[in-house]
């Protein structure tokens, strides 16, 4: 098959950009597709065109550097497009994407999937109220639009992101009412050896925390927000102390605020891998369901390579080198003689990954946190399905995420189950008394992103429609 390009890379974050850049060095044609207009992904998200100038941050500097590298390379960058389907034939892949309301197909000999991660947020009463944003979501607004969110924010969640969100909210002129974090100081002390691998980041984190204490912003270690209250938007949050397995306990306390940022770690955005035919496996240390993988981003699908947080949550530093390794695997698959030192890259990757994995360990929610979701809590936001409704369906016999989905439509709304599947998996595992690793996510179905029927249909004449002959009676 003659294809449109040798290599297609889906996702333009640290992994995708580095894979594309390295592959382009070997003189293959490389097309990189991404939802955002400019390369960078979530971690290096570019500023909106409304920002004419702003003080630099480590993220903005790294982002500018990769954006310059992409623009000076031979990589064809398709920005602001949305991949909605991936098909594979014997010797090629076909990517279907939407660009300005038109669906376009792109064929390639070799596919690199670098679709990154998304946030897990444990459903709690009131989490659908306007004024509640994800923690990763907050950083996206901070990086792109450089505005604070609301006038008084409570940040509640796990891992290092709580401190970054709080620090950025203040840097951009907003107020932080409190930081509520599931981790204890002891959790952080245990992570110190791994953090010493990245002294720069350790220093940055310490500076954020010191600034909170100096500015007298309360940090509630070993606590979590248990409920969000308000009429048509957030007015206050309820929070409680949590046990060692993060079960909320003790007397509720309250903080007045007009917005709250919630997040409990990241998970692989695995749907693209599923569509490409890559099997998933469960690895709780890397965020849950991840694509099965071999060294340097190879998979069980020939010609398809994976890299970055989508392959398991190891953070952006690891994603950069993982991207390079996957890029090299792709060009080697196409027959190139590799003149980079793979051994050196692998060493760099292992080092960065052990830092990232330590941060993941702090971020990954412990089992008690699932108790935040009360019977009346909406689990599937799109369809407004509560925990009790999902449990009723399970009592009627639904034993898998697919049967819950087809039974009560939990996960069938416009977000495609991206914000409820983790909670639903936990509920099924609890009912069946089995580990979550035995509860597979539903089969991925196109479209990966909402797409209008007009776009799907495109321009056609009725006379062009193939009509098969009626079958003989």
């Amino acid at each position: 098959m003659i294809t449109d390009t040798d290599i297609a890379v889906i996702g333009a974050g640290p992994a995708g950009c580095n894979a594309a850049l390295l592959a382009a060095e070997y003189d293959f044609s490389v097309v990189m597709l991404d939802e955002q207009v400019s390369p960078g992904g979530q971690v290096w998200r570019a500023k909106s065109p409304a920002i004419l100038s702003a003080p630099e941050t480590p993220e903005s500097v790294a982002g500018e550097s990769v954006r310059n590298a992409i623009s000076q390379s031979n990589v064809t960058h398709l920005g602001g497009v949305r991949v909605w389907h991936i098909e594979r034939s014997e010797d090629a892949f076909v990517i279907h994407y939407e660009n300005a309301g038109v669906s376009i197909s792109l064929s390639c000999r070799c596919l690199v999937i670098a679709t990154g991660a998304r946030e897990t947020i444990q459903p709690i009463p009131g989490w659908t109220l306007p004024g509640v944003v994800g923690m990763a979501g907050a950083t996206s607004i901070f990086k792109q639009d450089l505005i604070p969110i609301g006038s008084k924010m409570v940040v509640s969640g796990t891992g290092p992101l709580v401190f970054f969100v709080a620090a950025e909210q203040q840097r951009l002129g907003g107020e932080v009412a409190a930081i509520v974090t599931s981790n204890t100081l002891l959790d952080w002390i245990k992570a110190l050896p791994a953090m010493l691998l990245r002294p720069g980041l350790l220093f940055r984190g310490l500076r954020w925390i010191t600034a909170m204490y100096v500015n007298r912003i309360p940090i509630y270690w070993g606590h979590t927000v248990t409920r969000v209250e308000g009429e048509s938007s957030v007015s206050r949050v309820e929070f409680k102390k949590i046990s060692k397995d993060w079960t909320p306990q003790g007397q509720p306390r309250f903080i007045e605020c007009d917005c709250v940022s919630l997040g409990s770690g990241l998970i692989s955005a695995f749907e693209s891998f599923q569509l490409a035919g890559i099997s998933l496996e469960h690895n709780s240390d890397l965020g849950g369901w991840i694509p099965k993988q071999e060294q340097d981003g190879r998979t069980n699908v020939g010609g398809c390579f994976i890299c970055g947080d989508g392959a398991g949550i190891r953070g952006s530093l690891a994603a950069e080198t993982h991207g390079k390794l996957a890029g090299l695997s792709a060009v080697a698959f196409l027959g190139a003689k590799i003149n980079h030192s793979i051994v050196k890259l692998r060493r760099e990757y292992t080092r960065a990954a052990s830092f990232g994995e330590a941060m993941s360990k702090l971020s990954i929610p412990r089992p008690g946190l699932t108790k935040l979701t009360t019977a009346k809590t909406v689990v599937c936001r799109c369809e407004g399905i509560t925990r009790a409704e999902i449990e009723d369906e399970m009592n009627l016999g639904a034993q898998s995420t697919i049967s819950v989905k087809s039974g009560v439509r939990a996960g069938m709304g416009p977000c495609g189950g991206k914000f409820c599947q983790t909670a639903i998996t936990d509920l099924i595992a609890k009912t069946k008394s089995c580990p979550v690793s035995q509860i597979a996510p539903p089969t991925a179905r196109p479209p990966l992103r909402p797409i209008s029927v007009n776009t799907l249909a495109g321009d056609f004449d009725y006379s062009d429609l193939p009509i098969s002959k009626p079958s003989p009676l």
Binding site: E35, Q42, S48, P49, A50, I51, L52, S53, A54, P55, G101, R118, E119, T128, L129, P130, G131, V132, V133, G134, A136, G137, A138, S140, I141, Q144, D145, L146, I147, I149, G150, A167, Q170, R171, L172, G173, R207, W208, T210, A211, V214, N215, S232, S233, C259, V378, R381, C382, E383, G384, I385, G413, P414, C415, K418, F419, R449, P450, S452
Partner: protein, 100 residues
């Protein structure tokens, strides 16, 4: 000078402000910023009502996944976190009824 927690609010230079409308009401925004950010600045958080229980919804994931912040522009549904404010932008919300 080393600042432990700098406030950069006044060091950010933005494009000129332009007007857009949201359900007929006029608001100011910097040209090119996302509608999600412009609405946050206007303290307009309640963007949509959920189709099922009609509960109020607003910007949630901020990266085009959750579909909570969708609005309609020229009859097309689009996420406000993925829409840039431009002159002559007229947004229709998917709220059942306006807050009084």
């Amino acid at each position: 000078m080393f600042q432990l927690a700098p406030n950069h609010q006044d060091d950010i230079v933005r494009t000129a402000k332009i007007r857009f409308t949201f359900d007929g009401e006029s608001f100011l925004a910097h040209e090119g910023e996302t509608l999600a950010a412009a609405l946050m600045r206007a303290k307009l958080l309640h963007i949509r009502d959920a189709p099922g229980d009609e509960s109020p919804r607003g910007v949630f994931c901020c990266m085009g996944l959750c579909q909570e912040c969708v609005v309609q522009v020229d009859g097309k549904t689009i996420e406000s976190c993925r829409l840039s404010v431009s002159p002559d932008l007229h947004v229709t919300s998917l709220r059942r009824q306006l807050d009084t």
